[in-house]
Structures are given as C-alpha cells and as structure tokens.
Amino acid sequence: MFTLPQKDFSAPTTCLGPTCLQDLGSSHGDDLEGECSRKLDQKLPELPGVGDSAMLSPDTSYLSSRGRMIKWFWDSAEEGYRTYHMDEYDENKNPSGIINLGVSENKLCFDLLSWRLSQSDMQRVEPSLLQYADWRGHLFLREEVAKFLSFYCKSPAPLRPENVVVLNGGASLFSALATVLCEAGEAFLIPTPYYGAITQHVCLYGNVRLACVYLDSEVTGLDTRPFQLTVEKLEMALREAHSEGVKVKGLILINPQNPLGDIYSPEELQEYLVFAKRHKLHVIVDEVYMLSVFEESAGYRSVLSLERLPDPQRTHVMWATSKDFGMSGLRFGTLYTENQDVATAVASLCRYHGLSGLVQYQMAQLLRDRDWINQVYLPENHARLKAAHTYVSEELRALGIPFLSRGAGFFIWVDLRKYLPKGTFEEEMLLWRRFLDNKVLLSFGKAFECKEPGWFRFVFSDQAHRLCLGMQRVRQVLAGKSQVAEDPPSSQSQEPSDQRR
C-alpha cells in the first residue's frame, strides 16, 4: 500500500527526513516530466498530514485507495502543466506567453532530426513491424543498440543483444526495474539533488521508495567540489535507512548527473560500485545524457567502459534517445544488463511498455547511421549546446550569481540562495512563482529533493531567441528582488543539515 505524505506540504523544511519515504508529495509537485513546480499554496486535498489514505475523500471517490493516491500524483502535476500549456510562448501568436526553461528537453536540433527522420529509409512498413513481436524489442533493434552502446560507451568487449531490452522510455524502465528488484515498500538509494520524476516512476506500479543520500553545496572534509557524492555519505544514508527499518535494494546513479550536470570520474564510479557490491545492492546507472557532454575536457566515461565491473550481475545500465537525440516524444529507452534474470523479468513486463514496430525500425535506422551521428549530428549538437551554455552562464556571471555546471546535460544548477532572506523553501517557492508570474518557467530545488532552499535548475538547450527572452525575464525578477535580499545567511541554510545528522 501507499504511504501517503505524512507532512504538510506547506512546511517543506520539515520534510527533510534522511529518507524521503514519507515524502512522496513534496517531490511530486512537479509537472511535465515531474521537474517543474507546483503552487506553493497547494496542499494535499483533505489530507490532515497523517498517512491515512482513507482521508482522500473516500466516500465520494470511485477509485481504490491506491487509485486516489495515483490520481493525486496526476492532479498535482497537472497544475504546473496547465499553467504552462495554457499560455505557451510563441514568437508570433503568443509573444507574452511563458518561456519554458524548466523542462529538460533539447530543442536545439529539431532541424537536423526532422531531416534525418524524414529520409526515405525511415518510411519502411512491413507486416512483421505491424504484428506482435518479441517483447524485448525486435532483434534488429537490439542488435543495433548493442553495437551503438559498444561504440559510444567504448566497452572493452562488444556488448550483446541478449542483454538489451527495449522499452518505451526511461520512465517505464525505472518502473519495471523497481518492480522486479524490490518488494513493495522497499527502497533505492539515490543521491540528491536528483531528477525528481523518478519518485513517481518507481512508485506508481512498484510502490518502491527512494532513500535520499543528501548532498550539500558546502565543500568540507575531503570533498573537492560541491554536492560531491562519497562512499561515506552512501554508507551513512544506508545505515540510516536500515535504522528506520527500510530495506534498501539498490542504488540509482545518474551519470552525467541531472540536475548538477556533474560527471562521475571512473575512479569514483568504481568506488560507488564497490560500495554497492559490499552491501549486495543493485546499481541502476542512468546514462541518458551520455552523448550530451559538450565539453571534451569533462572526461566522461560510461560504466560500460570499465574494464571490470565489481558486480556485473547487479549493474544495470539505462539509456534513451530522449535527451541525447532530443526526442523525448519518441519514447525509446533501453536497458543493458548482463543479468538474464533481470532482463527476462523486465521483458515480462514489456507487454505494457511496448514501442510501435514502425518506431523500432526507425530507431534502428537512426542508431545505425554512424556517419551522420558522428559527422553531422553530434558535432552540431555539441556546438549548439556549448553556445547556449556559454550564453546563459555569462548572463549569470554578469548578475553575480553562482552556479554549477561541468559541461554536460542541458542545464545549469543555479544558486539563488542570496535572494531568499530567510533561506526557506517557502521563499524558494515564492521566488519560483515570481518567475512564473513573469512568464518564465524554471525548476526549483525542492523538486529535486535538494536540501538547501534556493537552488534552481535552468535549462539552456533552447533556441537563442527564446533563451534571451527567458533570461531577460529572469533578470527582471531578480532585479526586483535583489534589493530585498541580504547576504545569504549561510548558517541558516545549513540548519536542516544540523537537524538531520
């Protein structure tokens, strides 16, 4: 059964438990892909703050209690969704509409992609593509995926099509993996801040929770950078989860990281994997941004490139075309795992996460076209990402706003703490709302389970004219706000951490 959010959403600072078990609600005030935001004043309907599902209007509802919970997910997400979609910016039709710098989509390369997808090799229709097929995905596609990943992940030995399962997107993969690896109520560890929609993906069907490994911006001890993940922090989070009686089954790593844009070095990765092995944890490595590393110097390495995995049977890699090929609407994701039990179990659920045969064919054609990818698409995409990134980061620098970004992904993790006088999540939400009122949609840190109020994620992978306008609107808001703000009371922003540890 679902455990309902036990805390009132209007007091988010108190939600920062060491695990986000009771915290389903607060991480789901997001929209579209679950990353944007919801209204500050939104509370769980008729929810007095106790985990009793019966409180969600049971008498009038046609739904089961889990159905009411699921509906709540949707409704809360729809708020932000509606606001944006009812007033979407359009250069000609709605120039005063909302600019979306909140959803992580790459809108820089539609020209290249539409061209490629309109080529005659994409239009093939044949009976076998229209009929039931292997639920793991058509063999021709799995072969292509294996070759593609071998090449781009630089695997020491060729990857095998048997280890590939194809589904309709990364969300489905999280759902299926959670279901087959965990019992209901069990948990995955995840370093925060993280892509918040995962909470919903693992919860809807799987009823699996996320136990947060809280990272903070302050560089202490042996840390070399803000929000650094270390084995000590993993150990501590795991212990805490255990002490609360939560059974942890695995660890989720996103590499390149979302929203930090950070990259784990091969050594770090190895350490995390060894940690996981020590505790017999599965590791799900989400590499959905692996080809969106636009700074060569970042030195990204896929987990599939490691010579030796500490625990190959418990290491499961995810990739999708949503980000790297800027096609979130295409719904193509894939699992690579050497564990045949896991592959088979996930495939057993693929009936529900199937991808149209015609689209499978198109994906195979796309992934196969190494010349176009290497010579046209990737260089162009990286150049455009880099230009957009440079623009936004310079804007931020000019404003004297600190931020983090290491040359991967579509976003910059921006530190707006100095604009929050009291350093609370209420203020973070107010600021977010002020942005939205000024017609620019951003994602706030709380949606990523960030424990420090005041961080925002800016998505920069959009066309220049929209980006300029978006940043202009951001500037206006901050200009109006910045006078109010004092220096960031650093002690205050540390408070939650003191309470917790």
Binding site: G67, E78, E105, P156, L181, Y205, R308, P312
Partner: protein, 568 residues
C-alpha cells in the same frame, strides 16, 4: 558471458568467506535445500529418461513431469527465501543458471523428437527465473508467470513458418492477430500523409495522449459506436495498448487483492494484466456449453449467474470492485444484445460495480446480418461514472505491433488517475500522428478497409468452419472476432484438463500453436480456440497439421484400447 567476469558462479555450497560471521541456520538450510533439489532432479531424470516407452507410460511420464515442475517450483521458492536470509549472513554463492540451460530451443528439440520422451527435464525455463538471487519475489512471480504463459509463443517467434525459408516452422493459430489485411495496411501506412515529423511530435507529449489524437479517437468512436451525442476528447486517454489500459484501470479501481468478475471463458490476457502489476484477482463467472432450461444458449451469460458468482465471492470474503465484459466476446465470439447488455449494466449498478467493457473486436463483425451495439450507443447508461470502455486498433485494424489502446470514460477521476500512467505507457509522437491519420480517413475505412476486411474474415471463417464440419468437430458458431471456439472433447479420454494439455502439446509437436480452453478459464475441458484470420495457404497447411494430429490422437486411442483389452 563477456568481460564482466570476476564473479563467475561458484559451485553450490562453496563459500567465499570461509569463516561464518554467525551461526545462522539459513546458509545451512540453503545448502541442504540445494542438495535436495539436485537429488530430486536426478531422480526425475531417471524416472523419465527410459527409452521406448509405451503410450501409457508416456502419459505417465507427462504426469511425472508435472509433479516435477511443481516440486521444483516449490523448492526454488524455498531457495529463494533462504537466499535472501542467507545472503545477509554469508557470502554464499549459488550457481547461476548458465546460458545454455535456458531452454530456448526446447520446443524445437521436442518437435524433432516428436513422440519420444524428452531426455532433458523440462525445468530450465522455469528455473532460470526461479533461482535468482537478484529478483524480488514479485519479480520472480512475474517472470515465471510470463514464461509459463508465453514459452510456446516464444518458441513460435524463434521458429516461424515461412513458405520458402522455414517450411517446418510453427504456424500460429493461437494468437489473436488479424493477418488478412496486411497488404492494405502496409499500403495505407506508407502513404504520404503518414510521414510527418514535427517538433511537437518529438517533444514531451500530453501524457493522456496528444490532443489531436484524442480528438480523433472521440470522433472515431462517436461515428463507429453510433453514440447518441458527440463523445468528448477529455474523456479519452490513449496508451500503448489495451492491456496497458486494463492494467492501469485495475490499479486505480482496485486495491491489491480485490477482484473483478469476468464471465468465463475469457481472453487470457486479462488474467495476465490483472496479475503482473496490479495484483487484482479475476473471479470467473463460469458459463456452460450445454443448453438446459435455464441456459437457453451455449455459454450464455445471465444476471442470475453474475449474481450467484458475486454473492459467492462476497461470501468468501472477497471484495469485488467490478465486472469485465468483452463484447464481441473473446473467445466465444458472441455479441451481447442491447437488452442483455442493459441487464448486465443494471446488475452492476445495483451492486455498485464498475463495468469495464472491452470492445476491441467491434469492427470485426463479419456477418452483415448481425448488428453490433456498442455500449457507447446507449441513450442512457445506468451508471455512467462506473462504465469504462476500451478499444484499440490491434484487432480491428490488424496492427497489434502498433501498440495503441484507448479508454473512454465519463468519470473524470478515473481519467485523471489513468492519465498518471501515461508516463509508463506512452506512445511515440510519430506513431500518434500515424494513428490519427489512420482514424481520420473514414472514407478509406468505410469504402476500402472494412468491406475488404469483413469479406476476407468471412471467407476464412467459411473455410475453417467447412473443414470443421467435414471433420465433424462441433464448434460455437459466431459471426465476429478472429476465432472459432471448437470442441475437441471427443478426442480426450478421459475428458480432463490434463488430456487437454496433452492434446495441446501434440499440436505443438506438430508445429501448430493453438490456444486451449484452460487458458481462457473454461470450466469444461476439451475446448480450443482457433484463430482463422490468416492467409489461406498458411491456414490450409495449419488445417492439414490439425487433421494429422487428430488422426494421431485417434490412433493412439485405439492402441490404448487394444492394450487395455489385451491386459484383461
């Protein structure tokens, strides 16, 4: 496997840590259980691997194998439980099933050895999933349930009949697919209007389905279901297949362990969809073939039967949340009259039950004298907030590989809750565009597709039923769907589900995949479902194999009679 090789399986019972950290009994129990399994396995191999068995002994062997499978499953469950406990105490490695033990080619092998007992115990598939350190219990359940339901289908996928390349491959008359109009569909989907790549199609969609597609679905259903008023796109949710819609509905209407009533026999996929994710029970409302005073037609659904099943379930403490109806019915092929449909709906209303109506075959009614009445055509629904309609293109347009299913419900709560699953059951924007174009073109559908499809279905049905009549095989005469529901009772001696299974295996051995009544929760052994929506040459060959098997079965029966007589 490949380069990740440093955790090669360690032989059973060997410990990595030589010194146990405490004296938990789990590792010991685990080892004992592993030994037990090994011993059991050897014993069964001995029992079943003798050559030159008589027919009766062979049947006996089958029975032994069933037992073996059961025992093995139980032991594997034990091992699994023990492993999870033992793992926390000791690093104890259990051999992983090696790759070649995964019986991919099992049926291929068996078919070649047709008539001989299988020298290898039939455990490999099951076991691969069962003995897993890595899956959760529900993961194991899902895997095993899937494999046991689909292993024959997977065998078929790997060894499909092809008129030139693989003449000895499987012919599948067991999966409900319409392969009669592939030419039309292929052509239609290649037309220019189908290929459109717009930015919006490549971006995150509305998770309920793109607005243009939901509008089209509403229009389409208004027209083809003859809805009295225009249907509302806001009541439509579009997902990647009807099984996804059903799964999502089961999630939001029931809590785990709660139940739906379903008249049986019914489409086996529902059992699947209710169990894998949702953990909802399907309670069969058993229908009978025999015509009696109360049962005026074979497999007739009456309110009395519904009521009886409901009360019985309640008596057993089950919480029934809804009723599932398939109309046109699968596998019987019957169509509910508006009157009876109304009665079922009123019954549901009386007991506050949701009604899920699956109308996925609504355009596959091939007898022109019969009119299908969609539930959406009713002037007023007894309980419209509890009536949810499912339709998809898989059957009516023969494009099961397209993955499209739609929900239509007036209930806004259900719409919202099911929409949350849009993340997990989404359809590619490119495919949504094609579907919209397909549904939009009513002229082509009305003038080209539907007439041709109905004609071809009718012809194929005619061919199959003529064959069946010639073979004097009784069947349920219907005029819709892609299948005939046939009665092979007279080939079973004794008439049991075990015999039904053996006959099914005999078909398989002859490379013919059929569906048996048990898979549809039919109460009476001996019924089979035969999908006829296939091209004539394949259908002919399939029927030849079908006749051969029945011949074989008859001979075997005679031999058995003789043997029995001689013994006496």
């Amino acid at each position: 496997m490949s380069h990740w090789s440093d955790t090669l399986p360690v032989p059973s019972g060997q410990r990595r840590d030589q010194v146990p950290r405490d004296h938990s009994i789990y590792p010991q129990l685990l080892e004992i259980t592993l030994h037990l399994r090994q011993a059991m396995r050897e014993h069964f191999v001995q029992l079943t691997s003798r050559q030159g068995l008589s027919l009766e002994e062979r049947k006996h062997t089958q029975a032994i194998r069933e037992k073996e499978a059961l025992l093995s499953c139980l032991i594997c469950r034990m091992i699994n439980l023990l492993q999870s406990e033992a793992a926390s105490d000791l690093e104890l490695q259990v051999p992983l099933p090696s790759e070649d033990s995964r019986g991919d080619v099992r049926y291929g092998e068996r078919a070649q050895l047709s008539g001989q007992p299988d020298p290898v115990p039939q455990l490999s598939d099951c076991e691969a999933a069962f003995v897993s350190r890595d899956l959760s219990n529900r993961g194991i359940d899902i895997s095993v349930f899937y494999q046991s339901s689909f292993q024959d289908y997977n065998a078929y996928q790997k060894d499909k009949y092809h008129k030139d390349k693989n003449t000895l491959g499987f012919i599948n008359l067991g999966t409900s697919e319409n392969k009669l109009c592939m030419d039309l569909m292929t052509e239609r989907l290649q037309e220019r209007d189908m290929n459109c790549i717009e930015d919006a199609l490549l971006q995150y969609p509305d998770w309920r389905g793109q607005p243009f597609l939901r509008e089209e679905v509403a229009r389409f259903l208004t027209y083809y279901c003859r809805a009295p008023t225009q249907l509302d796109p806001e009541n439509v949710v579009v997902l990647n297949g009807c099984c996804s819609v059903f799964s999502a509905l089961a999630m939001v209407l029931c809590d785990p362990g709660e139940a739906f009533l379903v008249p049986a026999p019914f489409y086996g996929g529902f059992a699947f969809s209710s169990r894998l994710y949702a953990k909802v029970e399907l309670i069969p409302v058993y229908l009978e073939s025999e015509v009696t005073v109360t049962n005026t037609q074979p497999f007739q659904l009456t309110v009395d039967k519904l009521e009886e099943a409901l009360l019985e379930a309640r008596f057993e403490g089950k919480k029934v949340r809804g009723l599932v109806l398939i109309n046109p019915q699968n596998p019987v092929g019957d169509i509910y009259s508006p009157d009876s449909l109304m009665k079922y709906l009123e019954f549901a209303k009386r007991y506050n039950l949701h009604v899920i109506i699956d109308e996925i075959y609504m355009l596959s009614v091939f007898d022109e004298s019969i009119t299908f009445h969609s539930v959406l055509s009713m002037k007023s629904l007894p309980d419209r907030n509890r009536t949810h309609v499912i339709w998809g293109t898989s059957k009516d347009f023969g494009i099961s590989g397209f993955r499209f299913g739609a929900l239509y419900t007036h209930n806004k709560e259900v719409v919202s809750a099911v929409s949350a699953f849009g993340y997990l059951h989404s359809i590619s924007g490119i495919a949504q565009h094609k579907l919209c174009q397909l549904l939009q073109n009513t002229e082509w559908i009305d003038k080209v597709y539907l007439p041709t499809n109905c004609y071809r279905l009718r012809e194929a049905h005619k061919y199959i039923t003529a064959k069946l009549k010639a073979l004097e095989i009784p069947f349920h005469n219907s005029s819709s769907g892609l299948y005939v529901w046939i009665n092979l009772k007279k080939y079973l001696d004794p008439c049991t589900f075990e015999e039904e299974r053996l006959l099914y295996c005999r078909f398989l051995d002859n490379k013919l995949l059929l569906s048996r009544g048990k898979a549809y929760m039919c109460k009476e052994p001996g019924w089979f479902c035969l999908i006829f929506a296939d091209e004539l040459p394949r259908l002919k060959l399939a029927m030849r194999r079908f006749c051969d098997v029945l011949e074989e079965q008859k001979e075997a029966w005679i031999v058995k009679q003789l043997e029995d007589a001689m013994r006496e």
